[in-house]
């Protein structure tokens, strides 16, 4: 569909892919975009491979089918390249944002942007791997602006987490791919 960007997130249940997909959508909504964010659900529990999606477009999004050929694939959990077909359906001009220092051989055929999110998050001491990756994705997409993303994240994650840690994680990732 014209003007629509579709992003697929790969992680394990519990790693915050659903939240990241949603924060991205919220921030983009605030910039006036049409958005949609949703995970895939199954009987699998914490630890199982999970996919989530973000859709963005210049007009309201109406379609309600799943994403089959994403423009961007985000791999939050590197081990998933072995089992989850992360490059499946990737659009010809699409790319993968990968959590790691270098792209694994499984992704040889596609364009990969590496973000050592695990390492960066550890460095920050807060463990927000998903936020680091989210920052990087925004940078790569060219939208939304970092500040909007940070606001959306703090709002979504609520009182239970330290807002500053969230902001830092996002900007760390943003800086990495900007």
């Amino acid at each position: 569909m014209d003007g629509m960007t579709e992003i697929r997130w790969h992680a394990r249940a519990g790693q915050g892919a659903k939240t990241a997909a949603q924060i991205l959508a919220l921030a983009l909504l605030r910039t006036g975009k049409g958005v949609q964010a949703f995970p895939e659900y199954g009987p699998e529990r914490r630890g199982a491979p999970l996919r989530a999606y973000t859709r963005v477009a210049d007009r309201p999004i109406r379609r309600h089918d799943s994403v089959t050929d994403p423009d961007v694939v985000v791999v939050l959990e590197p081990s998933l390249v072995h089992e989850a077909g992360v490059a499946e359906g990737l659009a010809p001009d699409g790319y993968v944002v990968f959590n790691g220092d270098e792209a694994p051989p499984e992704l040889d055929e596609v364009v990969v942007r590496c973000v050592p999110a695990q390492r960066l998050a550890s460095k920050l001491g807060s463990g927000f791997v998903n936020m680091v990756m989210l920052g990087a994705v925004a940078a790569e997409l060219g939208e939304p602006p970092l500040a909007d993303l940070q606001d959306a994240a703090v709002e979504t994650l609520g009182r239970k987490v330290a807002a500053d840690d969230v902001r830092r994680a996002l900007s760390e990732g943003y800086a990495w791919l900007n």
């Binding site: 394990r12 630890g47 199982a48 491979p49 081990s79 998933l80 072995h82 089992e83």
Partner: protein, 92 residues
């Protein structure tokens, strides 16, 4: 979905026979740690076997032999219940 079966080839009512059924390899669910045993310490109490949620402690007859890492989810319960601390959770 080309690899999945057509409706006419499915077993009636979806009744599955365990023998032929595929099983999901859940070893990938581990998040960084896996169990490792120091067999010299093991007293073969089999508590780890009894407690393991993923039936991933392997036996030979009635003797403890190790872990089936294809299914072990890395919960660490075996290490916790081992009375002689023969099991330790180690990085993958």
């Amino acid at each position: 979905m080309a690899e999945l079966s057509t409706w006419e080839s499915l077993p009636i009512a979806g009744a599955v026979r365990p023998s032929g059924a595929p099983r999901t390899k859940t070893g990938g669910w581990r998040t960084g740690e896996k169990p490792a045993v120091d067999v010299s310490l093991c007293v073969n109490c089999l508590l780890c076997w009894l407690y393991c949620p993923d039936s991933a402690v392997t036996l030979s007859g009635e003797t403890f032999t190790g872990f089936d890492l294809e299914y072990c989810k890395g919960c660490g319960i075996c290490a916790d219940v081992c009375p002689v601390a023969a099991i330790e959770m180690v990085p993958e």
